[in-house]
C-alpha cells in the first residue's frame, strides 16, 4: 500500500465551517495520496459537498488548514484551487448552458491570440482532442451545452477538469444523472486517471458506487467525520453502520463523529 512513505497529495486538517450557527463541517480531517481514490460517504446533508467545496475554493473555512504536497496552501477562491492542480466536477456540473463545449472547458482559462482576443480555433481544436478521448462520438462542438444529453454534458464537465493536468480530482456524485453504460465509462475513467497518479475524491451517497473504485472510504455524519478505513478492511454493512448510525467498526480509524 502507498499509505506509508509518500507525502499526502492533499491534507485537510481540522476543517470547520458554519452557516448561520449550524456547523456544516465540524473538525474534519481527511487526506489523499497520489494514485489513490478516497470515497467520501454520508447521507445527504452530512457535509460532504460543503467539505469538498472548501477544497475547491468555493467556500472559505472558519477554521482548519489545507496542505498540498506537505506545503501549507492558502485556498480562498476557485482560482487558487486550480493553481494547486485541484479540479472539481460538481454534482450540478456547473456548466454555462448558453455556451458551447469549448467555451465551458476553457471558461476562466481562455486561450488568447497575441492580440488579446479569444483564440476560439485553438480552443475548439483542443476540445476536439480531449473529447475524442472521453466521448469519441461527440460531434456537437458548435452548440450550446444546453442542447446536449446528460452524458454528453457530463463529458464536458469531466473534460474541463482533466484537460488542465489535474493532480487532484474531486468528483461530486459523478454518476447521479447517468445511465448504466455511462456510469461504467466514468468508472473506467476513474481507474485510468488513478493509474496516471491523479488523486481522486469520490463523493457519493451510494456505497456500491464507491466500493468498486475506492481504496479508502471516509464517512461523514452531521458534519463530523465518523471514521476512515481501507476498503478491504471493512464490509459494506460496517460502512452502512457508519453512515446511518455513526458507529465506527474496530477495523476503521475513528474520527470525532464516531458514537
Amino acid at each position: 500500500m502507498h499509505n506509508n512513505g509518500t507525502t499526502p497529495l492533499v491534507e485537510m486538517r481540522n476543517i470547520s465551517i458554519a452557516f448561520g450557527g449550524i456547523k456544516a463541517v465540524d473538525d474534519v480531517s481527511i487526506d489523499l495520496r497520489p494514485g489513490e481514490v478516497v470515497g467520501l460517504l454520508g447521507h445527504n446533508g452530512a457535509g460532504k459537498s460543503t467539505l469538498i467545496k472548501i477544497l475547491s475554493g468555493a467556500y472559505k473555512p472558519d477554521a482548519g488548514e489545507i496542505y498540498v504536497n506537505g506545503q501549507h496552501a492558502d485556498i480562498s477562491t476557485p482560482r487558487d484551487a486550480k493553481k494547486f492542480g485541484i479540479e472539481t466536477i460538481y454534482q450540478t456540473l456547473a456548466l454555462a448552458d448558453n455556451i458551447d463545449a469549448a467555451g465551458n472547458i476553457f471558461l476562466g482559462r481562455e486561450v488568447l491570440t497575441p492580440y488579446g482576443t479569444l483564440d476560439d480555433a485553438t480552443m475548439e481544436s483542443e476540445t476536439r482532442k480531449v473529447m475524442a478521448r472521453l466521448n469519441p462520438h461527440f460531434r456537437r462542438f458548435k452548440e450550446p451545452v444546453k442542447a446536449l444529453s446528460g452524458g454528453q454534458r457530463q463529458s464536458v464537465a469531466i473534460a474541463r477538469a482533466i484537460y488542465f493536468n489535474a493532480r487532484v480530482l474531486i468528483m461530486d456524485e459523478p454518476t447521479a444523472a447517468l445511465g448504466p453504460a455511462e456510469t461504467q465509462q466514468v468508472a473506467d475513467l476513474v481507474l485510468q486517471l488513478k493509474k496516471e497518479g491523479i488523486g481522486i475524491f469520490l463523493i457519493s451517497h451510494d456505497i456500491h458506487d464507491v466500493f468498486g473504485l475506492a481504496d479508502r472510504v471516509s464517512v461523514m455524519k452531521n458534519g463530523k467525520l465518523v471514521g476512515s478505513a481501507k476498503v478491504q478492511d471493512v464490509t459494506q454493512d460496517e460502512v452502512l453502520g457508519m453512515i446511518i448510525l455513526g458507529k465506527c467498526p474496530p477495523s476503521a480509524t475513528p474520527g470525532p463523529g464516531a458514537s
Binding site: 482560482r79 448558453n98 467555451g103 479569444l118 475524442a132
Partner: protein, 432 residues
C-alpha cells in the same frame, strides 16, 4: 495524460441540411429583417411612397442612432440577468453637464468656438456617464442591491440631478463643431467620405470572411462551402453599398446647399446644385459602436464572461471568474454608452434640456428585447438589439408620417413589443 487519443480527423462537413444551415445564417435575425421589410413596405404603401425615400430613410437612421447605441450596452446588462432603468436619466444629466461645459465652463478658458471644445465635451460625457455607470455597478455587484432598485433609484436621482445643474434652465446653443454629432448639415459627411467608408467596409467584410475561413481550414475544421461564403460577401457588401447610395441620394436642402457652396467659393448655378448629404456622423458612430460592442461581446474574454454569468452565475463563479468586477464593468460600459448618446441627443437638439432622454430607458430595453435578448439572461446579440431599435424607430416615424395621434403611437409600439416577445418565445420553444 497518455491515454489513447482517437484520431481527430474532422467529421465530413454535412452535405444534407437546408440552404440556410449551409449559409450558417441566424434564422431569428432573418425573421427580424423580414419583419422590418414588411413594416417599411407597409408604411410606404400607406404613405403613398413617402416612407422609402432617401430623405425619410436618412432621417430614420439619424433618429435611431441614440437609442441603438444605448441598446448595445443594454444587451450585456440584460444578458447578465440585470436591468438598467436609469439610462434615460443618465443621458439627461450627462447632456446637461456637457451643455453647461461648452456654453459656460470651457469658453471661460478657451474662448468661444475653440476647436478643443467639442472633443473635451465628448470626453467629459464619456467620463461622467462611465463614472455614473460604474458607481451603480458597484452598488449592484459589491453591495448586492438588486439592479432594478439601484437603477430605479438612479432614474429619479439622475433626472433630479439634471434639473439641479441649471435649476431647470435649457442651455443653448451648442458649439458649432459639437453640433456635428447630431447629424444635420454639420454632421453629414458628404458623398466622397461616404463612398470611401463604404469601400473600406466592403474590404473588411471580404478580408474578415477570408481570414476566418483560412483559420478554420488550418485547424481542419468543417467550413462553409465556398459559394456560401461568396453569397454572404455579396449580400453584405451589397447592403453596405445600397446604404451608401441611399445616403448619397439625399441632397442638402436648397438654402443650406447654397450657403455651403458659397462658403467654398462655388458659383451657384441657375438650377441649383445637388449636394449629397452622405452618411450622418451619429449613424457612423452608431455603426462603429455596434462593431466595437460586437467585438467585445464575442471576441474578448470579458464578453465570454458576461455570457457565462448570464447562463449560469454559479458556474461562472466556480470557474474562477471575478463575477462582481465583470458586472461592475458591464454597468460602467452602459453608462459610457449613455454618455455617447447624450452627445448625439444634445447636438441634435442643439440644446441641453433636463428632460432629454425621458422614457429612453423603455425604448432601449424594448429594442434589446425585440432584438432577441432574453430577459432570463444569457442570450442576446448586439446586432439584434440595433435592429430592434431600428424596428421601433421605423414604427414611430412611419406613424408620424401617417399622422397617427401620439397616444395611438404609444399603444401600437407597446402592443408590438408584447407581440414580438410572444412570437420570439414561440420560435424558441419550437427549435428547442
Amino acid at each position: 495524460m497518455n491515454a489513447p487519443v482517437a484520431t481527430t480527423a474532422p467529421p465530413p462537413s454535412s452535405t444534407s441540411g437546408s440552404l440556410l444551415s449551409k449559409l450558417e445564417i441566424d434564422v431569428r435575425m432573418l425573421g427580424m429583417l423580414a419583419a422590418l421589410a414588411v413594416i417599411w413596405l407597409g408604411f410606404d404603401l400607406l404613405s403613398g411612397g413617402v416612407f422609402l425615400t432617401p430623405r425619410n430613410l436618412w432621417n430614420l437612421s439619424v433618429q435611431t442612432a441614440s437609442v441603438a447605441i444605448m441598446a448595445t450596452g443594454m444587451v450585456l446588462v440584460i444578458v447578465t440577468r440585470n436591468i438598467d432603468l436609469s439610462v434615460g436619466a443618465i443621458l439627461g444629466v450627462t447632456g446637461m453637464i456637457i451643455g453647461v461645459a461648452q456654453v459656460q465652463w470651457l469658453p471661460a478658458y478657451l474662448g468661444l468656438e475653440h476647436w478643443l471644445t467639442a472633443p473635451l465635451a465628448v470626453l467629459l460625457a464619456i467620463a461622467v456617464g462611465g463614472a455614473i455607470g460604474l458607481f451603480q455597478g458597484w452598488l449592484i455587484a459589491y453591495l448586492g442591491i438588486p439592479s432594478f432598485i439601484v437603477t430605479l433609484g438612479g432614474l429619479l436621482v439622475w433626472r433630479g440631478a439634471a434639473w439641479w445643474v441649471t435649476t431647470g434652465q435649457t442651455v443653448a446653443p451648442m458649439d458649432t463643431r459639437f453640433k456635428a454629432f447630431g447629424g444635420g448639415v454639420e454632421g453629414a459627411l458628404g458623398a466622397t467620405a461616404t463612398w470611401v467608408i463604404a469601400a473600406i467596409a466592403c474590404g473588411l467584410i471580404i478580408i474578415g470572411l477570408g481570414l476566418s475561413r483560412r483559420r478554420r481550414l488550418r485547424f481542419g475544421f468543417p467550413v462553409r462551402p465556398g459559394w456560401a461564403d461568396a453569397v454572404i460577401a455579396f449580400v453584405a457588401c451589397g447592403a453596405v453599398l445600397a446604404a451608401a447610395t441611399i445616403a448619397n441620394s439625399y441632397p442638402m436642402p436648397m438654402g443650406t446647399a447654397r450657403a455651403w457652396a458659397e462658403a467654398r467659393g462655388i458659383t451657384w448655378p441657375e438650377g441649383g446644385l445637388f449636394i449629397p448629404q452622405g452618411v450622418a456622423l451619429p449613424v457612423l458612430i452608431a455603426v462603429i459602436v455596434g462593431l466595437v460592442m460586437t467585438f467585445i461581446a464575442t471576441r474578448r474574454r470579458f464578453g465570454r464572461y458576461v455570457f457565462a454569468i448570464g447562463g449560469n452565475p454559479e458556474a461562472a463563479e466556480l470557474s474562477g471568474i471575478n463575477t462582481r468586477w465583470t458586472l461592475m464593468k458591464v454597468f460602467g460600459l452602459m453608462g459610457l454608452l449613455c454618455g455617447i448618446s447624450a452627445c448625439i441627443s444634445t447636438a441634435r437638439l442643439n440644446a441641453a434640456t433636463n428632460a432629454a432622454g425621458t422614457l429612453d430607458e423603455l425604448y432601449v430595453i424594448a429594442s434589446a428585447v425585440i432584438g432577441g435578448t432574453s430577459l432570463a439572461g444569457g442570450i442576446g446579440t448586439i446586432a439584434g438589439a440595433m435592429l430592434g431599435a431600428l424596428v421601433m424607430q421605423s414604427l414611430q416615424s412611419g406613424m408620424v408620417l401617417l399622422g397617427v395621434d401620439t397616444p395611438l403611437q404609444n399603444i401600437v409600439v407597446g402592443a408590438v413589443l408584447v407581440l414580438a416577445v410572444w412570437v420570439d418565445g414561440l420560435y424558441r420553444r419550437r427549435i428547442k
